[in-house]
């Protein structure tokens, strides 16, 4: 298949592994920010084939994992309401809240639907004028433009029975939080390619300069990832710390200006609580004042639902790359994707779930 097979080519991959091995003269810790990248790395076994000194630390870029328990509980309360059609990206259905998950709510009569695009929700809202359609708007800058567009279009089309429960998070504040953490070991970042497709990479340039850390914008196929790792190693070995674009077939420095405009027409930055990490200043989006009629959190008065995480696990440390999944004593025993004890075991893109699903033969 075009644009896929050439990026999974065995011979080219071997060349890149060898080149990374030649370039790396000492150990380096490189963090891939995005959960999609973690998923690819472990699914294809790239980490097994890297030279032993190159450690990939898995970052916080899994939107399902970092959505706070409180917001999940609020989402579940909405999904249980008989007048609500609750729409979500598929991954979110198996994330446990304080009482069960969306699968269970659906089984008990809740109208829960998986959508591929938030724009599908507008169609549902038009077809069901007597119901209230709520979309769980989660994700990084990648999903923000389409989520914003759904609200923009709902207003333009006069759709009054549509709203979104916003849990957007953004990448740069999370990277800063990791770099400023006393436990930080990360020496270079693979930038999240699809986030940069929207946002461009200009905003990472001051970050690379201030923290003297190489940031390589990287894609998701095995060869994309290996090229990103090679570029990061090259910079580290040469003592450079630049923003470098190794995903040029998708990403440009300015990103997608139209998509960015749409985000900021509808959303504005806010503080956001990350599951397993805590509040990171300026790390989220919320709806702007003029769109409050589409804000499910206001329409449904959810403030009474306050949740605290019942136990502790090391997912906060895993999300920052400070600890690796299999270093947790509960990994693969008490904590599995069927019985997740922490956020990173829940989503397919969480580092713990990726290790368990694809890589547990190496780290029993």
């Amino acid at each position: 298949m075009k644009y896929v097979d050439e990026f999974r080519n065995h011979a080219l991959a071997q060349k890149l592994f060898a080149e990374i091995g030649r370039r790396a003269t000492r150990p380096w810790v490189i963090m891939e920010v995005c959960g999609g990248q973690t998923h690819s790395i472990v699914k294809y076994g790239l980490d097994q084939l890297l030279p032993p000194g190159i450690e990939l630390a898995h970052g916080p870029g899994c939107p399902v994992c970092v959505t706070s328990l409180e917001l999940i509980d609020r989402a579940h309360a909405l999904a249980r309401r008989p007048e609500v059609i609750f729409c979500s990206f598929g991954d979110m259905l198996r994330v446990p809240g304080s009482e069960g998950d969306l699968f269970g709510i659906r089984a008990q009569g809740g109208d829960v639907r998986v959508v591929y695009s938030p724009l599908d929700c507008l169609k549902l809202a038009r077809e069901n004028p007597n119901r209230r359609v709520v979309f769980f708007a989660i994700g990084f800058e990648t999903t923000a433009p389409a989520n914003a567009m759904s609200v923009w279009q709902a207003r333009a089309q006069g759709i009054r029975n549509y709203s979104i429960l916003v849990s957007h998070v953004t990448v740069p504040p999370a990277m800063i939080a990791i770099l400023e953490s006393p436990a930080n070991r990360v020496q270079a970042f693979l930038g999240a390619g699809h986030v940069c497709a929207v946002m461009g990479y200009e905003e990472y340039e001051p970050l690379a300069a201030r923290y003297q850390v190489p940031i390589v914008v990287t894609g998701f196929e095995p060869l994309d990832l290996l090229e990103g790792i090679l570029a990061a190693v090259r910079q580290l070995e040469q003592g450079r710390h630049e923003v470098e674009n190794s995903y040029a077939r998708v990403v440009s420095r300015g990103g997608n200006p139209e998509a960015r405009r749409m985000i900021f027409r509808v959303f504005e930055p806010c503080d956001r609580a990350w599951r397993g990490i805590g509040v990171i200043a300026g790390s989220g989006y919320r709806l702007r004042e003029e769109f409050h009629d589409f804000d499910a959190a206001r329409l449904f008065d959810l403030d009474a639902i306050v949740s605290t995480e019942p136990e502790t696990c090391i997912s906060g440390l895993v999300l920052q790359g400070a600890r690796r999944p299999h270093e947790c004593p509960e990994f693969g025993t008490r904590c599995t994707p069927e019985t997740p004890l922490g956020a990173t075991m829940v989503s397919a893109e969480g580092a713990c779930a990726a290790y368990y699903n694809y890589g547990r033969h190496l780290r029993p």
């Binding site: 065995h10 446990p96 269970g104 696990c313 997912s315 920052q320 069927e338 547990r360």
Partner: protein
């Protein structure tokens, strides 16, 4: 970074209600069987956990199986619920090496369901049964009020005769066996999904639904088959994991050797699904004695149902119960039962 509120959601593995995942052919289905059905019905015939039971009656061995069909939409590219109901049960019988003798068909119909559509389904079933050479010998009809079923559900059961000297069971797979797959994977599941979601792909995707008993007869004539299974719900992944678990063997498969049609691959990439977990309705996986693998493969390729057959891996002594896949770029990864329905990822 400030201090960390470390988190821990509660597990939801034990459920108070049935969820769709209990019917997905993945881990929840396995749990339900292990924790509820097996202990309740406890007997050695069921305990073999094959797709059919083999009963002994005098000197004859009779394969006996049943399957329900609830697919929506009823009609999809390459097939319909009626065809599936015939092929599914014929294939479950065939996976014991038996030749199917007859089927039963039970219909649960929803009040208000169109007579015209029902007629089309029944005609299609009749045609499928004729083509397979297996009569529908008995049946039953029930009608439930509107909303109590979704248009129509069909249950078919079947019996077949296992030839002498043929002993095929998942538990007979052993280290050294070669693993043969009869053709491309993912066609059926993606055809239904594409139709359900209203997606159109270049080079239409069609269900692979087909009866496999003739293919099995050609294979058993060509060599020693230890285990056979058709990778339906849960896909190839679930089938390999189930056989590895029952036979207490390791499985090592090679991603590059598993045939997947281009439009199916494209659709899976687009929707964030893995073809390994997507259902098939006209494919089988065989664990074959290594010395016979070449001959069996040749026999498969000489039949229309097995034209694209391939050797995709082997059974090993190491890591019993675990399936490993060699990836395109040379790494290895675990392949496990899906826990729930396969869910599209976010990005």
């Amino acid at each position: 970074m400030t201090d960390f509120t470390l988190s821990c959601p509660l597990p939801v593995a034990e459920r108070k209600t049935v969820v769709l995942g209990h019917g997905s052919g993945g881990k929840l289905t396995a749990q339900l069987i292990r924790d509820l059905f097996l202990p309740a019905f406890d007997n050695p015939l069921l305990g073999r956990l094959d797709d059919q039971a083999v009963l002994e009656a005098g000197s004859a061995r009779i394969a006996f199986t049943t399957d329900s069909f609830v697919v929506t939409p009823l009609f999809f590219p390459g097939g319909d619920i009626g065809k599936l109901a015939v092929h599914g049960t014929v294939n479950d019988i065939a996976m014991s090496g038996a030749m199917p003798l007859a089927l039963s068909a039970a219909f649960i119909l929803e009040e208000g369901f169109s007579m015209e559509e029902l007629g089309r389904v029944v005609a299609s079933m009749a045609e499928a049964a004729r083509a397979a050479g297996v009569p529908i010998a008995t049946g039953d009809t029930k009608v439930v009020p509107q909303g109590a079923a979704d248009k129509m559900f069909i249950t078919t059961s079947g019996v077949g005769l296992v030839p002498e000297n043929i002993h095929i069971s998942a538990s007979n797979a052993r280290p050294g066996d070669r693993i043969l797959l009869s053709g491309t994977i993912g066609d059926h599941g993606m055809a239904v999904m594409a139709k359900r979601e209203g997606l159109e792909f270049d080079g239409a995707i069609e269900s692979d639904t087909a009866p496999l008993h003739r293919l099995v007869a050609a294979m058993t004539a060509a060599g020693e088959i230890h285990a056979l299974r058709d990778p339906t719900r849960g896909g190839l992944a679930a089938t390999l994991v189930e056989i590895a678990a029952v036979a207490r063997i390791g499985v090592e498969a090679v991603a590059g050797a598993i045939p997947v049609r281009e439009p199916v691959r494209a659709a899976c990439e687009l929707l964030g699904l893995d073809p390994l977990f997507v259902a098939n309705e006209g494919k089988l996986v065989a664990f074959v004695a290594a010395a016979d693998a070449g001959r069996v493969l040749e026999a498969m390729r000489s039949m229309p149902e097995g034209r694209e057959a391939a050797i995709i891996g082997e059974a090993v002594e190491a890591h019993p119960g675990m399936v490993l896949l060699k990836t395109e770029v040379g790494g290895t990864r675990v392949v496990d039962l899906p826990f729930h329905e396969q869910l599209p990822r976010i990005c």
